[in-house]
């Protein structure tokens, strides 16, 4: 009503009203005179009226231009600034904090220093070019820790020694290709041998690597509090800034990803989405206190459902670990026994190598024996398969054994943390088809981001070692907060559609918490249409 009045007060409104009555009241015909006179009168009246209309069209064309110019100024003034660059910088800081956090986890030294990723990259499918690249990265990483790897470190088998002898002197692709081909016929599992060699090097330098890691931790842990807390609060603050960012939220509507009219007060879509979670199915009828508590509960629900959706993605890890938990007692003894077996197998490897050197005529009273050389090469190849199998059993027992660190009150979050204690366990978990679109590192970083999500309160509070039903826990919690939330609506099949409705409400809440209103966004959308669409 106010708006109409104000517009009515503008001189143009008066002109519009005058125009209408002037045009409607224009005398177009006369009863007087001859037919010819009457026709002439009419033609002249039309021409006269048309002239008036054309003059007014020119005038209003000018008014239109003036209004568009003013709208352009206002659009630029109202349009929020794009802070993407600032956020990108903050995201880099967040990534650095996550890297620091990883240094402080209870995972292996090689995982924390990133060496484990290089080792895990070597598989049967690895090309020769990639293999050499990974070995180079491995050597460079050690160099950055102040450790220069030499040929002695690569005397894991007679084949790794031969290959690395060339690699360390001339690692050109042509040269390495011919070396690889020459070794391949006597050692078809050279890639595996090199991989085990790298694992062996990590174990050999474990003490030095730990010292280096402690130095790194001292550098990042400095004085300002616990690194996990620091990461979580930084991420929470950044997430909050992005969620309430005026530019991002306005852009969603300006690019028509969402329709502004569906979000305005009084829209049917808005009513449907809000009422769906209200006990008496009528949000508008709630008093202000009830509205406030509804809004607060809905904000919590949005974060919880996002957490739950991610949980579904990684639920298989919890299931696997809970199954293993039942075998944890037996795993303790078996793990120690397997470690001894592995140590013994490694000693056997060294004695094969020693025999090999003697067969080559190296050492006192040693005589070159070609048949023995051949036999020992074959023996080594077979023995490497045994070691590989032992490692696989060892790592499998390692994760089960680590579950002994849990206690009766351990939460789902604690179990996820245990999963980080075995890099090889994670490699296995993320080798399924669902994770193939990303690299192992990307998958693990995303998993870490999930674990250290600032909003994963349900995972941190739910006891994992008693029977639990996560959808029931969440649904009951929000029922206590007077929200309508059926268990079925948040199961794996239905969570997406429920999340859509919650996300809808959350977007309105985020806009209401920001410095731009839905009405401002509506104006921006209309201004944009006028400036860039209607008048292009």
């Amino acid at each position: 009503m106010m708006e109409t009045n104000k517009i009515e007060e503008i001189s143009v409104s008066t002109i519009i009203n005058i125009d209408k009555s002037h045009i409607e009241d224009f005398i177009m015909e006369t009863d007087e005179g001859t037919k010819m006179y009457r026709e002439k009168f009419k033609t002249e009246a039309i021409l006269k009226r048309n002239k008036y209309v054309n003059d007014q069209l020119t005038l209003f064309g000018e008014y239109k231009k003036i209004v568009i110019e003013e709208l352009k100024i206002r659009y630029d003034r109202l349009m929020p600034k794009d802070k993407t660059e600032a956020y990108d910088e903050e995201k880099l800081q967040e990534d650095k904090l996550l890297e620091s956090l990883i240094l402080n986890t209870n995972s292996s030294v090689s995982f924390r220093l990133g060496l484990a990723y290089i080792v895990a990259s070597i598989t049967e499918e690895t090309t020769l070019e990639k293999l050499n690249e990974y070995i180079s990265d491995f050597i460079d990483k050690f160099k950055s820790y102040g450790i220069t790897l030499g040929i002695d470190d690569f005397k894991y088998t007679m084949f790794t020694e031969k290959y690395m002898n060339f690699f360390l002197t001339d690692s050109s692709p042509e040269s390495m290709k011919s070396v690889f081909e020459s070794i391949y016929f006597t050692c078809p599992n050279l890639k595996l041998q090199l991989k085990l060699n790298l694992i062996n090097i990590i174990s050999k330098y474990e003490k030095e690597l730990t010292v280096y890691l402690e130095g790194l931790k001292k550098g990042v842990n400095s004085t300002d509090g616990d690194i996990v807390e620091k990461y979580v609060s930084f991420r929470y603050a950044l997430g909050n800034k992005i969620a309430t960012d005026e530019f991002y939220n306005a852009t969603m509507f300006l690019q028509e990803t969402r329709k502004i009219n569906d979000y305005l007060d009084g829209s049917a879509t808005r009513k449907k989405n809000y009422d769906g979670f209200v006990l008496n199915a009528d949000y508008d009828n709630l008093d202000q206190v009830a509205k406030n508590s509804f809004n607060s509960a809905m904000m919590g629900l949005y974060l919880t459902l996002n957490e739950l959706k991610k949980y579904y993605k990684y639920e298989f890890i919890i299931k696997d670990l809970l199954k293993r938990y039942k075998e944890k007692d037996a795993a303790k003894a078996n793990f120690q026994a397997k470690k001894k077996e592995l140590d013994k197998a490694d000693k056997d490897r060294l004695s094969i190598l020693k025999d090999y050197e003697r067969a080559k005529g190296i050492g006192f009273f040693a005589k070159k024996d070609d048949v023995k050389i051949k036999n020992l090469e074959l023996k080594m190849n077979e023995h490497i398969k045994v070691i590989d199998q032992l490692y696989s059993e060892y790592f499998d027992l390692e994760i089960t054994n680590n579950l002994n660190q849990l206690n009766e009150s351990s939460t789902i979050f604690d179990i996820f943390l245990i999963s980080l204690t075995s890099f090889e366990f994670l490699v296995k978990q993320f080798s399924s088809e669902d994770f193939l679109q990303n690299t192992l590192k990307e998958n693990i970083i995303e998993y870490l981001r999930f674990i250290y999500n600032p909003n994963n309160s349900v995972l941190r509070k739910t006891n994992a070692l008693v029977d639990f039903n996560i959808t029931n826990i969440i649904s009951e919690k929000y029922k206590l907060l007077d929200l309508v939330l059926e268990e079925e609506s948040i199961n794996k099949d239905n969570i997406d559609s429920t999340l859509d409705s919650v996300r809808y409400v959350n977007l309105i809440q985020n806009i209401e918490r920001s410095t731009i209103s839905l009405n401002d966004i509506k104006n921006l959308c209309e201004m944009k249409k006028i400036i860039y669409v209607d008048n292009e």
Binding site: I7, I10, V12, I46, E62, Y63, R74
Partner: protein, 59 residues
């Protein structure tokens, strides 16, 4: 006139300005539809034409 208009619209809120824009567009449409096509009468002051058009009676 235009200066006054510019001053006036500065006082309007964003929503009001958009409304005014729509009002101006509506009026432009109204004006455009108000233009009448001029149909020249078949008989003008030329007498020769008058003769030829005898049967175009008034009935």
């Amino acid at each position: 006139m235009q200066d006054k208009f510019i001053e006036e619209i500065k006082e309007l809120k964003d929503g009001e300005l958009i409304e005014l824009y729509n009002k101006i567009c509506d009026h432009i449409s109204y004006l455009s539809s108000s233009i009448i096509e001029v149909v020249e009468p078949e008989r003008t002051d030329n007498s020769e034409d008058d003769e030829g058009g005898e049967d175009d009676g008034d009935e």
